[in-house]
Homo-oligomer: 200 residues x 2
Amino acid sequence: MASKDRILRLKEETRANILDAALRIVKEEGWQALSMRKIADKIEYTAPIIYEYFASKEAILLELNRQGYLKLAKELQLAKDDHNSPAEQLEAMWLAYWNFAFANKELYQGMFGITTSCACEMVNKLPEAELPWDIITGSISELMKIEDLESEIICTKYYTFWSIVHGLVSINLLDRGNSDEINRQVLRDAITGIIRSITP
Amino acid sequence: MASKDRILRLKEETRANILDAALRIVKEEGWQALSMRKIADKIEYTAPIIYEYFASKEAILLELNRQGYLKLAKELQLAKDDHNSPAEQLEAMWLAYWNFAFANKELYQGMFGITTSCACEMVNKLPEAELPWDIITGSISELMKIEDLESEIICTKYYTFWSIVHGLVSINLLDRGNSDEINRQVLRDAITGIIRSITP
DNA sequence: TAAATCATTTAACAGTGTTAAGCAAATGTA
DNA sequence: TACATTTGCTTAACACTGTTAAATGATTTA
């Protein structure tokens, strides 16, 4: 009886190992270099065994992204909890978003890269309460004193925020035109600018 | 003697055909589906012939991107020429940028997609006068009454502009959270906001 | 007409994701 | 203990990828 548990635990472990190996390869050699056989090598198995844990390579990428969204949500929540006023919360959250992107470059590329079009579908499959979207719009609606989280105005403001931060992030991920500090300042200016513009 | 010319002309033509076929495949089936054999099929040759015209698949992608940058620059210049004041020029140019992105979705993805890291290196290999960068910073420096196009302040403002527009574009390319009109309005607001903030 | 060059194709290599078949060890059953 | 069954894992294979070398057949040159 208990051996069943042990086996299940082992299975869960190799599943985690697969994901871990995949992410390690991506960090070392980039998304392009990720292959099933390389993953298998890293966990000291042969390739077909992976299909016992994931239906396809795509499924592995999807799961990595899912974990990325959860991780991002967790860090946003952490940043939010550190502050009381919605304005401070928003600033802290978008800075946390920025930090997440650079601390997890490859993950972020997978999650929000233009070519990986799964981002949208993926986001919708996550547990609602833990979505980055909800955590942030909460503060926006509080700041604007609008109850309905799904209202058009909240949605628009959220997208404005997201666009600016994501734009800065992605341009820095591919070009790094300015120094870190300058870009951080641009980010800060943009964020406080929007916050001011939506503060009643 | 003249036959040499004819042959050269034919060669130039098939080179263009290769690029054309590649872009058509990408538009029909996405970047992921692009393969040498498919290109060869479309131009009614076999795959190895492509290597007479391009060193590798990567080289084809690079050339497609190059053409994309030139096309974008041309449209920016066109938009610029339609207006006199630098403020109007900037608004028109960023709207043209936005329109280019959606009229050439796949091309834009290739040019500025996070995962395709060639964007930065590519841009630097283009004839200077025709770079998007130069066309836009010209108007910024005129508006701010600063001579030096390479000065830090101009550079920063350019990146601020670019980040916001690119952010809006790329999020709309993967999510389309709002309607077209709303996003266009967000874009307009953002652009006029920055223009106002840098107008002396 | 013979030689040389050119354009193009076929065949092949190493790699990819994925599936099916096989094997060998562990487990369940009598 | 002996047999049957399931499990874990590997080998072999398929269709595809980018790319290269060799072979072929047509065209130009001498």
